[in-house]
Symmetry: C2
Subunit: 188 residues, 2 copies
């Protein structure tokens, strides 16, 4: 049997993640059975679980991808931009509903929670670094701890995810994000 190249492995991993993301978006965490993940990836369970230990590992890998993407945008353009991107392409965030369905698991499964919180921590850290640069540049208000501003933005992000995940209209949230952005800036 020929040795499978690293490129090939990475491409396979990519196929699995994309298929699984659609599957979670469509059926939810519990509804995304192994059989359905096979269908949506077009791969056998053997192939899938060669790359990911189990469904939980697959789910966490997707959450990590999200977190990395968010952290990149947050580091460059701020967490408000992460939220504006969500408003611009709500269909890309279909799968976020799954994040809400795992609330109970987050509350009761401490190893799952600590992995999950580590990803959120990456986004927070990227946001914090950007805010600190903003503060040095005089763009950021300096009468409130940066830490409080990060937690504030994070709370609004959680609210936005909930809004998107429950299928509520979000068209009217642009003006709200303007207000959020303004509330962390230096008053002029």
């Amino acid at each position: 049997m020929p040795k499978v190249s690293d490129d090939r492995l990475a491409a396979r991993r990519r196929e699995i993640l994309d298929g699984a993301r659609h599957c979670f978006a469509e059926y939810g965490y519990d509804g995304a059975t192994v059989k359905r993940i096979e269908e949506s990836t077009g791969l056998s369970r053997g192939a899938i679980f060669h790359h990911f230990r189990d469904k939980e590992a697959l789910f966490l890998a997707l959450a990590q991808e999200d977190a990395e993407r968010m952290a990149d945008v947050a580091a460059e353009q701020g967490l408000v931009q992460v939220m504006r991107d969500m408003l611009a392409r709500p269909q890309d965030f279909d799968w976020l509903g799954t994040r809400l369905e795992i609330a109970r698991k987050l509350r009761t499964d401490s190893s799952f929670r600590s992995t999950w919180l580590a990803f959120s921590g990456d986004v927070e850290a990227a946001t914090l670094r950007r805010l600190e640069r903003g503060r040095q540049a005089g763009r950021l208000r300096d009468d409130v701890d940066t830490d409080v501003l990060v937690k504030y933005l994070d709370l609004v992000l959680d609210g936005l995810i909930t809004r998107l995940a429950t299928g509520q209209p979000t068209d009217d949230l642009h003006a709200v994000l303007d207000l959020v952005e303004e509330s962390v800036r230096t008053k002029r």
Copy 2:
């Protein structure tokens, strides 16, 4: 058989709601089976479903109670106070996790969604009335539409519910709520 008095019926209804709230908090929406609701209320399914058509009706009655309580506080003291109450007694909001678990149902079941949104609408309306009084009294900023301010507060509330429901620490959110409150007020 003696005729059951209205008081008796109201007390029974109360028992069912309290028991069901605990049951949803402990087991989640899907996990709260009829058998478990019987156990947590101490009543038979016949007695329970005499008062509520089905589990969905019971769940929506609890959501309506929450909404009425929130609307009362929002009307008198504002939506930020609703959030401060949540921070002060997180254990009373255990069952909020269930609200996240129903995200999929909200997205896919339109009759369920419209009932649910009507309750949120009551809270929004109460918040709006209070903000308008605040604006007349000059306490509220007047450079942003009241409607935008309501949606902003609502978004933060959704974020807070998610935070509580996923069992994340909330001790550090008091300063965040100060910032939220300040951001809707007239600048001094």
